[in-house]
Each structure stands twice: as structure tokens, then as C-alpha cells.
Symmetry: C2
Subunit: 348 residues, 2 copies
């Protein structure tokens, strides 16, 4: 009789309530055959003792674990922290427990982390920022083998896996149209080149908008960036502003890769006696905390992170376990331009 000596939390509870441990398990798993009265007693005891049935036992047996593996590359950027915090809360509200891992963008580590999550039998995987191209195929087959639901958030490259992302074309469009309405015709891009995340799509979208509005890309767009830049931070904004000041004729509007670069540039311009927005308008990206409090407050694109994460979790839960590559779920979230005082009418 090897079944009797078990001493796990559920067995202990069973003994205490005078039930068999199988009954406890059935209650835990919502089986319909338990007497309602018994079920009520068991749940009550679980609550009051704070009993946690071993996730190890459950997982090993093949049951749901309630855990979601969250993989992301770094936590350094403020916008990433905000994504993580929101995702964790949304997952918790959906009854899941988020386990987070950082990969530092290291493909080897990325694969290891995903393998570990799968070995832990997570109920799903959220890949923030996508996965390295090198690993894509391996990871896709691992996931399909396990039938683990997955969702990518803002992948750097299109992926055959279910995806939720910000509509980056729309983001560029609302920025451009805001500035165009304010009569700006000569622009500078700060830090936007094909080497940064979503750099190419931004450039291409802007080129399209230039054509649409009869502007001349070569004459009216000044692209300033340093392809070797390691960090897209304040210091980079300073550096690019210095280069901006040498450009003639001077553009009247700046579109920055993100809020840090925008703020860094704005501070340097002001230091050099250029007034914002009277002489130059500036738009950032991400709508960070600091942006609303700088002088003048920065016009910026908000990513609607709450909506992105809600959609991602909805997608994850809805997956039947086999995400057939034939019809990968895909969801784009619309950004919103937060208009503040760093943008104004172009000088005549």
C-alpha cells in the first residue's frame, strides 16, 4: 500500500478533515462529482490555512501550473519596466503567476531560459521584444512540441507566432501630421536610423508621408544619428543636438527616437540659446514620467501599454494549445499623441 504514507499539504489537510487525499485533489481540480458540502469545507480550510498544493506535484502529473513565463531582454529602459509591471499585474488579475527572466539579448541565454520555463511546465510564455532570429525556428518547434501557448509583444521582426504590437506606422504618422498641421516643413530625425529597433519602419513611413505631402526627402529631412551609439539616452540627445545646431538651413521640427534623446536634445538646445518651441519643436516617444515635468513639457507618443498587455493576455488565454502557424493571431494597438508645449507653430 504505497499510497498511504504521503505527507504533502493535501494529504495533511485530508487527514485533518477526515477525507481521503483524492477527494481534496478532486475539489482542487473542480471535478463535478464531489458533494457540494464537502467541497465548501475543503475550500474553507484551504483559505484559512493558506494551504498551497505543491505546484511540483501538480505540474509533474501534467496539470495546469498557473505559471506564465515572461522573457524579456533588459530592464534598464524605463519603458520596459513599465511594460513588465503592467504585464505582471494583468497576468495576476487573470489568475496567473508571472515568472520573469532577463536575457540581456543573449541568444544562448534566451534559449536556456525558454527551455527552463518549458521544463517547469508553465501554462504559457510571453516573449517581450520577440526572440533572436537565430533561435526563432528552434523555439517555435519547442513550443509546438509542448503545445504551450505563447504570445510575442513588440517583436523586432515579424514572427509566425501570435503577436501583439504597437502600430508603429501609426505612431510615426500622428507625429508627422501633428507637426505638419503646425506648418512645419523642414524636419530632423534624432537617433532614428536602420540600426535601432524599428528604425527602418519609421524611416520608410516618414518617406511615404513626405511623398504624400509633396515634401522633398533629401532637401527637407535631416537625419542625425550615430550608428555606433550604445545607449539611446540623454547624453546621446546632447550629442545629436550639437550636430543639429550646425545644420543650415535649420529644420524647425525634431522627431526623436525616444523621450530621453528628446529631452537631452532639448536641454542642450536651450543651453545654446535656442528656444523650444518658438524656434524648434520637439517630439519624443514613450511618454515617460520625466517628459511631463521637463520645461517645456514634451509632446510624446504614448504606447498604451495597458491595452497591449490586456490584449496579450487575452490572446494567451484563448489559445487552444495548438497555435497552428496557418493563422497566427495578430493584434495591433494604436498609439496616442500626448500634445504638450514642446511643439508649436513653425516660425514663418
Amino acid at each position: 500500500m504505497r499510497s498511504s504514507p504521503s505527507i504533502g499539504p493535501t494529504s495533511a489537510l485530508a487527514r485533518q478533515l477526515g477525507l481521503s487525499r483524492w477527494t481534496i485533489s478532486r475539489v482542487l481540480n473542480g471535478h463535478p462529482e464531489v458533494k457540494p458540502e464537502t467541497s465548501r469545507r475543503v475550500w474553507e480550510a484551504i483559505e484559512s490555512f493558506g494551504l498551497v498544493p505543491s505546484p511540483l506535484g501538480r505540474a509533474l502529473r501534467g496539470s495546469r501550473t498557473g505559471m506564465i513565463g515572461v522573457v524579456f531582454q533588459s530592464i534598464g529602459l524605463p519603458i520596459i519596466s513599465k511594460k513588465i509591471a503592467t504585464l505582471q499585474r494583468v497576468l495576476r488579475e487573470a489568475g496567473f503567476r508571472a515568472l520573469q527572466e532577463l536575457t540581456d539579448g543573449n541568444p544562448h541565454l534566451e534559449l536556456k531560459v525558454i527551455r527552463h520555463f518549458l521544463a517547469l511546465r508553465v501554462d504559457g510564455l510571453v516573449l517581450v521584444g520577440g526572440i533572436g532570429a537565430r533561435n526563432a525556428q528552434t523555439i517555435i518547434s519547442l513550443l509546438q512540441e509542448r503545445r504551450t501557448p505563447v504570445v510575442m509583444i513588440d517583436p523586432l521582426e515579424p514572427s509566425p507566432l501570435p503577436t501583439v504590437e504597437l502600430d508603429r506606422k501609426a505612431a510615426i504618422r500622428i507625429v508627422f501630421e501633428h507637426l505638419h498641421c503646425l506648418n512645419h516643413r523642414r524636419f530632423a530625425m534624432l537617433g532614428i536610423d536602420s540600426g535601432v529597433p524599428w528604425g527602418s519602419i519609421r524611416v520608410e513611413t516618414l518617406q511615404g508621408l513626405f511623398r504624400e505631402h509633396g515634401l522633398d526627402w533629401d532637401g527637407d529631412m535631416c537625419a542625425l544619428s550615430n550608428p555606433g551609439a550604445k545607449e539611446l539616452g540623454f547624453a546621446y540627445g546632447n550629442e545629436l543636438a550639437d550636430r543639429f545646431l550646425l545644420v543650415a538651413p535649420r529644420p524647425t521640427a525634431i522627431i526623436a527616437i525616444n523621450d530621453q534623446v528628446a529631452v537631452g536634445a532639448m536641454l542642450r538646445l536651450q543651453e545654446k540659446g535656442v528656444s523650444v518651441p518658438q524656434e524648434v519643436s520637439i517630439v519624443g516617444f514613450d511618454n515617460l514620467d520625466v517628459s511631463a515635468h521637463i520645461r517645456p513639457p514634451l509632446t510624446s507618443v504614448d504606447q498604451h501599454i495597458e491595452e497591449i498587455m490586456q490584449s496579450a493576455v487575452a490572446l494567451l488565454v484563448r489559445q487552444p494549445g495548438d497555435h497552428s502557424p496557418a493563422e497566427p493571431a495578430f493584434c495591433q494597438v494604436h498609439p496616442v499623441l500626448i500634445k504638450r508645449d514642446s511643439t508649436g507653430a513653425a516660425a514663418a
Copy 2:
């Protein structure tokens, strides 16, 4: 013969290499009795196939899991993100896998999260920001029952558990002494009251320093704060700066609760025509990214997060499993003042 049909990763590997799965297990666990040649072959295969032995099986059997549970309250503040990122990296360098959970400061959730980590058989627990007083006793007995190593980082209240924390008295002292050397004699505290984390200790330390230097607390220290303030952010700094401007005689130095409040205050003062540091010097706390790039760059206290986390992990690893409450390990890390241009000599 119920042992044969196992199909876990290790069994699969065993079959492939013509070994028994017990041998694989022995290699994995570094048992000395395995032939070196066999051991080498096994490790090689593990590497090349990216095999992950089921952590569920291992954990259930009582072996080490390599997982460390990290519990923290929120991820909103930039300084917290920095702590988390550093901790995760340091843990990884020590061969661990960090599982992170947020509690939003909710005591009920805190207890649940810790119970879940223990049920997952983590090898250790890191509690960032300490634990709610309500739960302290429950959690301490849970940990001792399980003999799970634990370390608290910067707990809000002294704890009988092993602890690593910033020496906050020293932090206040180096700030005060820097300003005192610059001949400042009339001070304002912004956002520092007994309601904020480590508020009381800062006030008391400053009072001691005032006595030591023959200053008059009631006459020379102006404490500005709003006990109802929800967020210690830029907007709060703005608000407090407005109140600062009404004070007469005007203090020549401001000690802010953190960098956001310092920056918010500085920007508002400048807007009102008060020059920093000529008329007022300002010191922040946390040494955030933004602080080095604002104009003028902000003098601030750096928390030496790297050292804090290194010490914490060292403490965790060193624990014999039974942290006797008789001699709780305790480690204080010294802060460093980063002197920048927001502080200067007091006007004569």
C-alpha cells in the same frame, strides 16, 4: 518493473548514450563514483542537445532547484528597476535563476507569493524592501520550518532575518557635511517626513548633525512636506518648491527625499528666477540617470546597488540552511556622494 518506462529528458539521454538513467543523474549531481570518461560524455551530450533535466522531478525529490524567489513591492520607481536588474544579473552569475514576483505592498499577496515560492522549493528567497510587519512572524516561521535561506534588502523596519542595507545614516551625513563645508547654514528638507520610507531615521540623523555643528534645528531647518503625498515624483517637487519660495529667510540649501523631487523642485525654482546653485544648492538621492543630464547636473547620493546585491547573494549562499535568530547576518553598504553642479558655496 515500474522503473523502466520513464521517458523524461534524462532517461531519453541515457538510452541514447547506452547508459542507465541513474548514471545520468549521478553525473548531474556531481557524485564522485562516476567514471570521468562517462561523465565527460554525458555533459557533452547535455550541452549539445540543450537538455534540461526536469526541475519538477528534481525539486520534488528534494534536490536543489537553482531557483531563487525574488519578492518586491513595486517596479514603478526607477531605482527599484535598477535594483531588480542588478540582482537578477548577480544571481545569474552565481548560477541561480531568479523568479520575480510583485506584491504591490499587499500583505495578503505577499504571504501568498512567499508560500508559493516555498512550495516551488526555491533554494532561497530575497525580500526587497522587507516584509509587512503584519506578516513578519508568520513568514519567519515558514522560512525556519523549511530551512530556506533568505535575505532582506533595505527592509523598512529592522528584521531578525539576514539583512543587507544601505547605511542611511551615513548617506545623510555625507550630504550634510558636503553642504556644511560649502558654508551652508540654513537648510530645507523637501519631502522628508516620518511618513516616507526611512523618513524618521533621516530626520533624527540630521538633528544629531545639527547639534554636533552647533546649529539650531527650529531656526535653521525648514521641513517642507505634504504627508498626504501619494507619489514622490517630479510634480511633488514642483509643489514643494512653490512652498519653499514663500519661506523667509530663505534657506540656501535643499536636501530632497529623492532625485525626482530634487529635479522637480530645481526646475520650478529656475522657472521662478532662482538660480541653482548660486542662490540655492540642491542635493538629491538615488543618482538616477536623469540627474546627470539635467542642467545643472544634480548632486546626488549613489546607493551602490551593485555592492548591495553582491553582498546579498553572498549572504544567501553562505547560509547553512538554519539561520538561527540568535545571530542574524547583517551587512551595511556605504553610499557615495556624487558631487555635481547643483551644489555650490553658500552666498555670503
